[in-house]
Symmetry: C2
Subunit: 309 residues, 2 copies
């Protein structure tokens, strides 16, 4: 199985309103809810691709119960979330019905006690024994040490389980130094890590900091990969139109499934870009449109870059 870790799980709520106006009262015409947090999104896409997935991280309170109930309904996804006393956060996406523009409200997440963090570490180590790869995804809730991902990366490497890291800020900086197999920052996260706004240069810098491979997501322009096996750009046929929510998580699922299936890098990147574009095109935020994915897969361009670049 593939393991995904989501320390700050969420109940993702989408509201549709006519048009959001500050300081006015709004009637919500449609409400949708689903389990969220990057690692859970990655797990859902991996399961849709036919992989067995185990998800861990923290869940608590009434929102945590709702997240777990919803996970129980997903085939090929096993819930190994660690219970906590605090309540799992909600995220609210308010979508204007007229324009499709989205306003996002994110709760901070529960305070994690030291004993809860220890319980997560134990669960994680036990799950790694049967994992073919692991993805560490998203922000840290309050109370989790800022070096949390560095510790999780080191544990995975000690057990020889390939590990992908997708986070930002200081947790990314420390996690990269622990030498993960892959990091997947977006352009902004990569620039924050390296100080360089030039993606190629920034990717090289991130590898020097410890990442074995860097796959930078450049939004509608696809992916840029810097790996020990070579350097590539993977580009979708046309900039996808739609909602970019979850596109990065779909790319992670593409990279991780490609790794486990021992695909060469260009095929992994093509899959990641096609999944990402199919997520943007899907009618529901964060879903993958699988027929759209299969069509896009034949249309993604992957070009090798000179090793010196």
């Amino acid at each position: 199985m593939i393991l995904t870790v989501t320390l700050n799980t969420a109940l993702d709520i989408t509201y549709r309103v006519r048009s959001l106006r500050p300081h006015a009262s709004h009637r919500v015409s449609e409400v949708a809810e689903r389990p969220g947090g990057k690692g859970l999104n990655v797990g859902r896409v991996l399961a849709a691709l036919g992989h067995d997935v185990t998800v861990t991280g923290f869940a608590g309170g009434a929102t945590g119960d709702t997240v777990r109930e919803r996970l129980a309904g997903l085939p090929r996804v096993r819930d190994a979330l660690v219970p906590v006393a605090g309540a799992t956060r909600r995220t609210i996406a308010v979508v204007d019905a007229t324009t499709g523009d989205t306003t996002q409200l994110n709760e901070p997440g529960p305070q994690i006690a030291p004993a809860e963090w220890s319980a997560l570490l134990e669960t994680y180590e036990r799950l790694l024994e049967s994992a073919s790869a692991v993805a560490l995804c998203g922000s840290l809730p309050p109370g989790v040490p800022v070096g949390a991902y560095a510790q999780l990366v080191r544990t995975a490497r000690a057990l020889a389980v390939p590990v992908l890291l997708d986070t930002s800020g200081e947790p990314l900086r420390r996690g990269v130094a622990a030498r993960p197999d892959i990091v997947k920052p977006n352009a902004e996260e990569l620039a924050e890590l390296t100080g360089s706004h030039e993606p190629l240069q920034a990717a090289r810098n991130a590898r020097r900091r410890g990442a074995h491979a860097v796959v930078a997501s450049l939004g509608p322009r696809g992916l840029l990969a810097h790996t020990p096996d070579g350097h590539w750009r993977a580009t979708p046929p046309a900039p996808a139109r739609g909602n970019p929510t979850g596109a990065g998580d779909s790319a992670v699922a593409g990279l991780l499934s490609g790794l486990v299936e021992r695909m060469p890098w260009p095929d992994r990147l093509a899959r990641a870009v096609a999944l990402s574009a199919a997520t943007v095109a899907a009618p529901t935020a964060g879903d993958v449109d699988l027929p759209c994915y299969e069509r896009l897969l034949t249309e993604v361009t992957v070009t090798a870059e000179a090793a010196a670049a």
Copy 2:
């Protein structure tokens, strides 16, 4: 005990953000939750005044469970909510930390099945047997007949339990025709019911439509009462500054407790205005600042109006 009916209960959530900007992403710095819906708010204030209260209405789903858990922590409040298959709605108040301005997002509420409505009617009739008064409060969730309040008013009158109605639109129009003892519209609801924007004229009109007494809330200007015993205006010492959320519900609690305690109308109105102003002044939205209430009670002005007016 005093009975309150909240057909569209809610989990009221308050988010604090720096400043709400449409189509941006916001980190919520503070989250507060509490049981909501007008009848539950009325019940909480009645309990704070020392009355035993029973609350009924509908509750369902994870949000319904949270509402019930919170109610269980309130002294003098008995939970007689009827379980439903759908999920109790959330309301979200997004407060700008810089200005205190509030943006409101209200979910529509669960679809109520005919059998669930029948179960409510049975519970209601049973509870009325030991009720000294009843308040019918707020909007109707989808699936409840538009004449719901008219039916609940008739049942209360048949059992000789004094009934106060606080709703709006067509449910208010039909409810008034069933001859409730008191209706408590705000100026806008009263104008919508009667077609008149002149409160005195509109209150007379509402009585002709069936209400025995009309108490119109005029926001910071206090209350206007048209009753079989006389006509009064009750005015707070100064327009209260703060959050008006729940001020109308506190006024209902004042009117209902005054009725049960057999206070004369001017004393009921003074209590209602003082409670209302103390709610606006309270630091937490919807709470009553009791010492503030007691001080304001001595400062409210109640003046009789000529019967011909």
